[in-house]
């Protein structure tokens, strides 16, 4: 059994309004990049806060780097985190903000300049935080998370506000950290990014885990599908009816019919559409991807 960086069992958080996180179970092997996804309000941030000792669980247990989450002082010195976006003192410079945290954690102050350079803020370290753009704030948040040279890095939406170049830089940074043994637990709405970098995935829906395991297992369990567009948008419903009558699950999203079925069935569907007098403008077989699977599993249909 691989060494686990995160392990939670029946972890729950209940508020007066109900469960924010309900009897959650998942494990994250050490040294992997694990994506943490779910629609807004699914309980991702609450889970992360419980892992970091900021919120006390209503029930269940958890372990981080082998230590119980009820004793955060035993593991947090080896954990870096950015939760719900960066939060710093506006009147202090970026460097001074990092020095506050470095002093608090007992990390060498020399690391501050190294980290500012690593996240591309070397020339703006002395500027006040309040003058930073959203992307720069995000980079500073990542630098703060890297202060302890962490064994486990927990990032909540790290690419928020970054331009494509910045997103690529962060992707490469996370990859290199994982290659050097750091476990990265990253929550993001950029599912295509997570699909590229993650080996593991934890998917939440309404406070419950709907999938936890290797990314490939998730795709293996999914059906291939095809995307279909018609010349006349009104014909989409007819295509859905044709597919369903042939025993295939189908639905419409964003003006496109999504029909489950192997690529070979595309020819049959084309013929059925032709016979029904429907002109297809797109018929493209697809392999399962994270975005499609996410919508499928979380039921978050647009």
């Amino acid at each position: 059994m691989p060494q686990l960086a995160i392990s939670v069992s029946d972890l729950s958080k209940k508020y007066d309004s109900g469960f924010a996180v309900s009897h959650t179970n998942f494990q994250v092997p050490a040294g992997t990049i694990c994506g943490f996804v779910g629609p807004n309000g699914a309980g991702k941030t609450t889970t992360i806060r419980m892992l970091l000792g900021l919120i006390s669980p209503s029930g269940g247990t958890g372990r981080i780097l082998g230590e119980p989450i009820t004793s955060p002082e035993k593991y947090l010195s080896q954990v870096g985190a950015m939760i719900e976006g960066p939060a710093f003192y506006p009147a202090l410079s970026g460097a001074e903000n990092l020095k506050v945290l470095a002093t608090l954690g007992g990390f060498p102050l020399e690391r501050v300049d190294q980290l500012l350079a690593q996240v591309g803020l070397a020339d703006r370290g002395k500027s006040k935080y309040k003058t930073y753009s959203l992307g720069m704030k995000q980079r500073l948040g990542i630098a703060a998370a890297l202060l302890p040279n962490p064994k486990l890095l927990i990032l909540d939406e790290p690419t928020n506000g970054l331009d494509p170049e910045g997103i690529q830089e962060i992707r490469q940074l996370l990859r290199s950290l994982a290659d050097n043994g750091t476990t990265v637990f990253v929550s993001s709405h950029l599912l295509s990014e997570l699909e590229i970098i993650s080996e593991y995935l934890v998917m939440l829906r309404k406070g419950e885990v709907v999938f936890a395991g290797p990314m490939q297992d998730l795709f293996d369990a999914q059906q291939p599908f095809m995307l279909v567009k018609t010349e006349n948008k009104g014909d989409l419903e007819k295509i859905i009816a044709l597919a369903e009558s042939a025993g295939h699950k189908a639905h419409i999203r964003d003006g496109v019919a999504h029909i489950e079925g192997p690529a070979e069935w595309a020819g049959v569907l084309n013929k059925l559409a032709f016979e029904a007098g429907i002109l297809l403008t797109q018929l493209s077989p697809q392999l399962p991807n994270l975005e499609e699977t996410f919508f499928e599993m979380t039921g978050d249909q647009k």
Binding site: G53, L54, I83, K99, V100, L101, T103, L104
Partner: protein, 267 residues
């Protein structure tokens, strides 16, 4: 334990020493010190009085060994309110900016974090007290000659003891006001709410209640802390004020500690 407390102290100090806060606060301390000390001497012959609420402080009184600190005791209350604002803002901003979660990830010992922050703010209060004392005594000394006030007894052994006692009393008072500010910051988690409520209570509510029923001043927290700064008044003894202030501050600290350690950090 000591190592982590030292780290928390210096981490907090990095925030407190920023020029806008440090110079701004000390500027306010200097302003009130100069203002109150100058008025005490410049209005020495005024029939409307030269002290707090029209009280007359004569040349003879100012020539005593306590003369050098007469003005400084009067500004204790104002310095206390400045401390309340600073402590409240420093504490509440951790919630409003969301920085508390960063601090707790780096230092999960919540009681330790609270003690370290308080220790750092205490150091800030010491500087406030010293700056206020130096300016106030300096201005008093500079104006004493022009107003025929003898300074002969100010710096003899009795005078120095008076200065030391007043410094301690004003420091205790400032610290008490500051801790109340810190508690309000933890309670309301918003700098604006905690400062406005604290100032509203101390400057308006206590004054109105005290004007309506003077005997209540013996029990109101702001009044006790101001009395401690003054070293006691005709109506409230120093011991009474110090004991009651200790109880108020102690209870407030217990509430703050429970809230700070038990409450989820969800923002």
């Amino acid at each position: 334990m000591i190592g982590s407390l030292t780290r928390i102290f210096f981490a907090e100090w990095r925030k407190l020493r920023r020029p806008t806060l440090l110079l701004g606060t000390m500027g306010a301390v200097a302003f009130f010190s100069v203002l109150v000390s100058s008025l005490l001497f410049l209005l020495i012959d005024s029939p409307q009085g030269n002290g707090d609420r029209g009280v007359r402080i004569t040349r003879e009184m100012l020539s005593l060994s306590s003369g050098s600190t007469q003005a400084f005791t009067s500004i204790g209350n104002l310095l206390g309110i400045i401390a309340l604002c600073v402590f409240a803002a420093q504490t509440a901003q951790e919630y409003s900016l969301g920085t508390l979660r960063n601090l707790l990830v780096r230092q999960p010992g919540r009681i330790r974090l609270l003690i370290g922050k308080l220790a750092s703010m205490k150091a800030f209060a010491v500087i406030m007290t010293l700056v206020g004392a130096v300016i106030s005594i300096g201005v008093s000394y500079a104006l004493a000659g022009s107003k025929d006030v003898s300074t002969e007894l100010w710096f003899n052994s009795d005078g120095r003891l008076e200065i030391a006692q007043t410094l301690l009393n004003v420091f205790i008072s400032i610290l008490g006001f500051g801790i109340i500010g810190m508690v309000l910051g933890i309670l309301f988690r918003s700098p604006i709410s905690s400062i406005s409520l604290g100032v509203l209570w101390l400057l308006i509510v206590e004054n109105i209640v005290g004007a309506v029923k003077a005997s209540t001043l013996e029990w109101l927290p702001g009044s006790q802390l101001a009395t401690v700064a003054a070293g006691g008044t005709e109506t409230i003894s120093y011991t009474h004020a110090l004991s009651l202030s200790g109880i108020y501050v102690g209870v407030a600290l217990v509430i703050a500690t429970v809230l700070f350690t038990k409450r989820d950090v969800a923002n």
